[in-house]
Amino acid sequence: MARYFFAVIVGVIGAIVVHFGAIYLLPTLSANAAAAIVGVSVADGEFVEIGALDNRIARENADPFRVGICKFDLSSGVFRMRSDGDVPLWTIAVHGQSGTISFSATDRNVPGGQLNLAIVNQKQLREIRQSLPQDLENAVIVDTRFDAGFISMRAFEPDASYAEKIREFFANTSCEYVTYEG
């Protein structure tokens, strides 16, 4: 009898370990996680409006914001996202592969309300501090602790009359790698 009692105690302690293991691993392992879906649906360096994707994040995050996504991998270089246009409000967030957000901003947080963002890791930050590449002179430099992830951009669509402006704004949004002499 004591053996079974001991087995139950060990089982409950094991359940606590499994519970916390599952909670901490879900953001990395869940096939439904936004990062996992972006990983298979969006090409590296491509800006994609999620409404164009037939997947879970498109359906879970539709309306009334239009959302576009760029995927990055800093092993390919400094990642730059730029946009130009006149929309009522936009926001961005830099997500890591486990879904953690390292940086977020709205159009009011950047000079002139125009997006010009460079994502760098610690090593790249040290290098560009020594000699800032000409391409990044006007960019907001964001130091992120992850080497790979994605950027989400939300544009507020107050009503259908703004659809064309937002379409133009997204069409003028680019994501690219910037190479420099390290």
Binding site: G11, G14, V18, R56, E60, P88, T91, I92, A93, H95
Partner: protein, 193 residues
């Protein structure tokens, strides 16, 4: 050896069964500890930031939701009306105006998570469409049958949730307007069933 086999199987079964079941339950129903409540609405602070509650991160990962960053805003949800009854598609509701410093906001109704794997959603009113209303402060009737005035239909015949996204708001910070108020949701009546 066999006298230890059955206890070992019991221990492993409890560990994986109870551990996986509790993780499944908690990530479906619980959105972490960093919750703020305001006028019957709840939101999670540090939605996706580095210090995000692990339960909230796990719940977001399961849903496919794109978390809002701290600077972007807050996502409030509510499952109950002002009488603390579950929101249901068979009932009619009156939803009233809000008072917030957010630059933009959007109120949506979403089918319950238990109702479908991917939930249908409907935008009821936004800060952009509300300015077109003649009645200020505005009021929306949520009903599955047509109503006079500003009317919207619920997203599901069964239970549903309301979601209020506030963009660029000071709610949850030490700054901001002194008494923000979020929409009240008053039940007007229900059909049979």
């Amino acid at each position: 050896m066999f006298r230890f086999l059955l206890p070992a199987i019991i221990a492993i079964g409890i560990a994986f069964g109870l551990g996986a079941w509790s993780a499944d339950q908690v990530t479906n129903d619980f959105r972490g500890f960093s919750t703020i409540k305001l006028d019957g609405w709840t939101a999670q602070l540090q939605n996706g930031g580095g210090d995000t509650d692990p339960y909230l991160r796990a719940s977001i990962a399961r849903s496919g939701e794109l978390a809002l960053g701290d600077a972007e805003g807050l996502r409030f949800t509510r499952l109950l009306d002002d009488d603390e009854d579950r929101l249901h598609g068979a009932c009619d509701y009156q939803i009233t105006d809000l008072d917030t410093d957010a630059r933009a906001w959007a109120l949506s109704a979403i089918a319950s998570r238990s109702d479908a794997d991917v939930r249908s959603r409907k935008t009821i009113v936004t800060s952009g469409t509300a300015i077109a209303f003649d009645n200020a402060p505005w009021m929306v009737l949520l009903s599955s049958s047509l109503k006079p005035g500003v009317w919207a239909s619920p997203p599901a015949e069964n239970e549903f949730d309301l979601e209020l996204i506030l963009i660029d708001t000071s709610i949850g910070t030490s700054l901001g307007i002194s008494t923000p108020s979020l929409p009240s949701v008053t039940k007007l009546g229900c059909r049979d069933g």
